[in-house]
């Protein structure tokens, strides 16, 4: 009975765990969202001899290799969830075995701890947590196998230094734990004391020698607990409060699991043990479920979730889903990167002029002109993609190359953009170089092979149309670029190709976001040249506003504004006037009007450009509909 109950509990927990990861967290968001926060790039995995051998150039390389491979499964939500599930079940089994070895009974609540930490970490997105978990699990697997080896073949002293070498190169700093274990073993095992002590001394000397020829500081700093890439910076100030508990918890688990076979505690009678087992099974799984649910709810970072989702959808070419997603969830916060991605998605859909001001805009949301250093990498990648789509290929290349140069890991998304850029630039030889490299990537490889086939045989591939369109719209006249000003770029693009709708929309959007309706109105007259039959809503509102604010308005301008927009504007102004009258003559009437009017008008006019112009010039970042 107790076993059935426990099995049901465990199955229920792990099923919920798996589904939560696959459906809510979505590992593919983590994979495709190159970077959302903190400048961290997830690792690629190349089917490549050099990539494999490079893994042995530093201690812990094999763990890195393994975790890089595991991370590729994240490209598919179900496979990714399965990887995390498998790793979590292993850590659960490991912890459970450890508790049983130590205390003689099971205590599932604690055994679930590493798995719960792993899912919380994933639930927060954007940080290297999934990798960290992979590191620790790789370390755990390696150490468990070595542990098994030592337990069975400990009579052969050569096993110790050999095992040490394996552990060292597999998991880096795991070897330190291993050395401690060997010493403890030597003290415990009197029969083979001399040989084992000799083996321990050899191991220690080997360790010293190896450390001497490696970057000791990096090994101690990074590889000791995570067994990872020595050049990788795992700690960030912002995440240190979560990183450290994760590292410590999983390292303790591993350490204890290693020591467990050498300590055997047995407490309580057989009957008590059975009761304990039953209760721990029942309470453990149930409590783990509820605790996990509570922790997931409290630690969920919705802002990052939105950013990751937008970035993912933009990168996998589903801009329509971005708009649908944002309309569905109406997020409480939008940061500039999320808004940037949203505006790009709107532009891809041809909806920038229609809906741009239906969302709380930010002056930087179109071009990310002044990113702080912290957001350097994500801003650079986004800008590179925007410049590419607009047709400023050299500028895009400069941005993405900077990313390629600055990053120690050459991410496939970066290489792909460089390849696309070369294709759009009409330089197939360079594109071949980039795509040839990409063919080695586990996930991007298939797409790269299709492009190479196109380059060899001319057989079209999905996405060729988009590249052709970029090539058509790309800037042709050479000028020197010293100031990164999106208005100037779009103006030049429109001068060369008046039908470039993306440049037109970005130019108008950029003028309007900064309240420059005079300049916007100048270009709005040309809306038919870019293929609009009638002005999109937000653009028409801006033109209406311009007409109304300038008494010397050209009658042609007002005739291009649809009647419903004109009527809406009249209603808006009338409503403003009414509210203003209410506060006229009152103490601090002006201030009260500025405070109260937006909340009164938001419901009806919140999505209009009039509203943005009068009340949200500074781009207040909140959902106001």
């Amino acid at each position: 009975m107790k076993n059935i109950l426990r099995s049901i509990n465990i199955c229920f927990f792990w099923t919920a765990y798996f589904l939560y990861i696959a459906v809510v967290i979505r590992p593919d968001f983590l994979y495709y969202a190159l970077i959302t926060d903190g400048g961290y790039v997830y690792p690629p995995f190349l089917i490549d001899y050099d990539f494999f051998t490079n893994a042995f150039h530093y201690p812990g390389g094999l763990a890195w290799y393994l975790s890089s491979f595991l991370f590729q499964t994240y490209a598919n939500p179900w496979q990714g969830a399965l990887t995390v599930l498998a790793a979590s079940i292993c850590s659960f089994a490991l912890s459970r075995a450890m508790i049983r070895r130590f205390f003689g009974f099971t205590l599932d609540l604690f055994a679930y701890a590493p798995a719960v930490i792993a899912i919380i970490v994933m639930n927060r997105y954007g940080d290297p947590f999934p990798l960290l978990v992979n590191y620790n699990l790789s370390l755990a697997f390696s150490l468990m196998s070595i542990n098994w080896l030592v337990e069975r073949y400990s009579r052969h002293w050569i096993v110790f230094p050999l095992s040490f070498g394996i552990v060292y190169f597999c998991t880096g700093g795991g070897a330190v734990l291993f050395t401690i274990l060997v010493i403890l073993f030597a003290f415990q095992n009197k029969r083979e004391g001399l040989l084992t002590t000799a083996a321990a001394v050899i191991s220690l000397f080997t360790a010293i020698l190896l450390y001497r020829y490696c970057d000791l500081r990096a090994v101690l700093q990074y590889a000791l607990v995570s067994g990872g890439y020595p050049e990788r910076r795992l700690m960030t100030d912002r995440t240190v409060f979560i990183d450290i508990p994760v590292i410590i918890a999983s390292s303790i688990m591993v350490f204890c699991a290693l020591l467990a076979p050498y300590f055997r505690f047995s407490r309580g009678s057989k009957k008590e043990k059975v009761i304990f087992n039953f209760l721990s099974g029942l309470i453990g799984a149930g409590a783990a479920f509820f605790i996990t649910a509570a922790l997931l709810t409290t630690t969920r970072d919705e802002g990052r979730h939105i950013k990751v989702t937008f970035e993912y959808l933009d990168r996998v070419g589903k801009p329509g889903d971005v708009v649908a997603f944002v309309d569905k969830i109406k997020p409480a916060h939008f940061d500039r990167f999320a808004l940037f991605d949203l505006n790009r998605a709107l532009s891809h859909q041809g909806l920038l002029g229609e809906k741009m001001f239906a969302y709380p805009q930010n002056p930087e949301a179109l071009s990310l002109e002044n990113p702080s250093l912290k957001f350097f990498v994500p801003a650079l990648m986004r800008k590179a993609e925007l410049y590419y789509e607009l047709g400023y290929l050299n500028l895009s290349k400069a941005s993405v190359s900077e990313l390629f140069e600055g990053s120690r890991i050459e991410h496939p998304a970066v290489i792909e953009l460089l390849g696309k850029n070369a294709l759009a630039h009409g330089r197939p030889a360079i594109a071949t170089m980039w795509y040839r490299r990409l063919t080695h990537d586990l996930i991007y490889g298939r797409k790269a092979r299709e492009v190479l086939r196109f380059l060899n045989d001319g057989k079209p591939f999905p996405g060729l149309d988009a590249i052709e369109s970029v090539r058509k719209n790309a800037i042709k006249s050479d000028t020197v670029l010293t100031v990164l000003d999106i208005n100037k770029f779009c103006t030049s693009l429109l001068e060369e190709n008046p039908g470039n709708r993306m440049a037109f929309d970005y130019l108008i959007g950029s003028f309007l976001i900064s309240g420059n309706i005079q300049e916007a109105a100048r270009y709005l007259q040309r809306f038919r040249e870019v293929g609009y039959e009638q002005l999109p809503t937000n653009w028409a509102e801006a033109l209406m506003l311009y007409c109304a604010l300038n008494s010397a308005t050209d009658s042609q301008l007002s005739s291009t504004v649809p009647r419903n927009i004109q009527a809406s504007f009249v209603r808006f102004m009338s409503a403003c006037h009414t509210i203003k009258q209410r506060y006229e003559g009152m103490d601090r009437g002006g201030e009260r009007y500025a405070r109260e009017a937006p909340s009164i008008l938001r419901e009806e006019f919140g999505a209009t450009y009039f509203f943005y112009y009068f009340f949200h010039m500074s781009g207040a970042s909140r959902w106001y509909r």
Binding site: N394, A398, S401, E405, R427, A474, D478, T479, L481
Partner: protein, 489 residues
């Protein structure tokens, strides 16, 4: 009765023997029979056809571009045995020892290379043979070059590598990561001597400096050296003191451009540790750059151009695309330490192009330089080509090793018969290091890429290899020591 175990062992041994026989048969080194000769030319990558190779070069492995089921290569020298190679893959790997023997016996001769390909239908096609010429003069055995990613903006991943040209051994001499991801550049050797080197470093944390090595020792000089060169006596270093800027072009293929807002020559006396400005070489308001000493140390060559702008704040400055440098010289008396009067060797007015990066051959006969439409930085100018001027006749000519893409960063071997240079000819972006033979008349032969063990190396190597410098041996000082010196405050 024979035990089962023995039967098992016999079976394994027999299987191994059969496999060995099959392998030997498959890779037997004889020529394929019934070859059908064709007049088609074969394409190989890297292209070593009709090139002149040094007698001490590592085997030039290559990939055959044509498709086929099997590939056979026959290298026939005038002296000694022929070399037959067969492969299932189009990658042809030439055995080192056989290659060395062959070159050793055939200095100054030419090797005839015939490639045959087994077609899908089963028959062998033999392509038109090509020659590889073996020069009598050896090349300096090592080459140092810079390895960076194709776009150099941040200087975070930059290293200097050294390559043994007689084998494939490549060593990282120094990398920016050894001193906090700084930038390393401008590696210059005293008369191709690996023990005397100048290395410029740039680091936000450890400041800009120059490292000067002597055998296993390195010192850090708190001076920023631009394009430094040793005086052949090894007593002082001549360099450029400049303000260099970079900017972007919106549409042209070479999207980066570099110019010196101001520049002048200076020299650093190693014995006294003092910086001395050069005399006013070409008058006020001129730009001077790229110094190069004659082998006797009595003549300094440099490039000079009038400064065409008034404001030092505008980037790019006005008329930046009209700046053309002339090749100038000034005499120097190393005993009295006095300078003569500057003179123009070859003017930009005469050539209509900007003359840059002069390098005097170690025998003092020629100056190798590059010319491009304008600018001080030929790497970013597609028009940049290599030229040579005979100092006795002052006649200059373009070298036959040029391509449609930029050639730059060249240097001489110590016997003045080999040059190495950077070229973007492969695809216009990834700079590679080429070597070319220069005969006694100053004519260049068809250049070739530095051979790699993996013939497909260059097709996937996403780094740029530039600023190659020949050296007579490997640089012995460790990268840790160089890094530690760079980190000194």
């Amino acid at each position: 009765m024979v035990s089962l175990k023995k039967v098992f062992i016999y079976c394994i041994v027999a299987t191994c023997l059969v496999i060995a026989v099959l392998v030997v048969t498959d890779y037997n080194t004889s020529q394929p029979h019934d070859c059908h000769p064709t007049s088609d030319t074969i394409t190989i990558d890297p292209d070593y056809r009709e090139t002149t190779l040094p007698p001490n070069l590592a085997p030039p492995n290559f990939t055959i571009a044509q498709e086929g089921k099997r590939f056979a290569v026959n290298i026939r020298p005038p002296h000694g045995p022929e070399l037959h190679l067969r492969s299932r893959s189009p990658d042809i790997i030439i055995p080192c020892s056989a290659w060395r023997k062959m070159l050793g016996m055939n200095r100054g001769e030419s090797l005839a290379v015939t490639i045959s390909i087994k077609q899908a239908t089963g028959g062998w096609n033999s392509y038109r043979p090509f020659s590889i010429y073996v020069a009598a003069e050896p090349i300096d055995p090592w080459c140092a070059f810079r390895v960076i990613k194709p776009i150099y903006v941040r200087g975070e991943d930059m290293g200097i590598w050294q390559r043994d040209l007689e084998s494939y051994r490549t060593l990282e001499m120094v990398h920016g990561r050894t001193f906090g991801y700084g930038c390393v550049n401008c590696h210059t050797f005293l008369n191709q001597n690996p023990n005397r080197m100048i290395l410029s470093t740039r680091s936000r944390k450890y400041n800009n400096a120059a490292l000067v090595t002597d055998q296993d020792n390195a010192i850090k000089l708190g001076v920023k050296f631009g394009y430094p060169v040793w005086h052949p006596g090894g007593k002082f270093i001549t360099y450029v003191d400049f303000d260099v800027f970079e900017f972007l072009h919106s549409a042209r293929n070479e999207y980066l451009d570099v110019f010196d807002m101001r520049s002048c020559l200076a020299h650093y006396d190693l014995s006294t540790g003092t910086v001395n400005k050069m005399p006013d070489l070409m008058g006020p308001r001129v730009l001077e750059t790229y110094p190069a000493w004659s082998p006797d140390g009595k003549m300094l060559y440099f490039c000079s151009a009038p400064m065409l702008w008034d404001s030092l704040n505008a980037i790019p400055p006005e008329n930046y695309n009209k700046v053309r440098y002339s090749l100038c010289s000034i005499a120097y008396d190393p005993v009295r330490k006095t300078w003569g009067t500057a003179d123009t060797v070859l003017s930009a007015q005469k050539t209509g192009m900007s003359i840059l990066q002069p390098r005097v051959s170690p025998d003092g006969r020629f100056i190798l330089f590059c010319m491009c439409d304008y600018s001080v930085f030929p790497t970013y100018q597609k028009s940049s080509d290599l030229y040579i001027i005979d100092l006795s006749t002052k006649i200059y000519k373009s070298l036959a090793c040029n391509s449609n893409e930029a050639e730059s960063w060249h240097s001489w071997s110590s016997n003045s018969h080999w040059i190495t240079f950077s070229s973007k000819r492969d695809n216009g972006e990834f700079t590679r290091t080429y070597i070319s033979y220069i005969d006694s008349q100053g004519n260049a032969r068809k250049p070739f890429l530095i051979p790699q063990k993996n013939p497909a190396f260059y097709t996937t190597f996403l780094r740029v290899m530039n600023v190659p410098e020949f050296i007579t041996g490997p640089v012995r000082i460790s990268k840790r020591k160089l890094g530690a010196t760079a980190m000194l405050h």
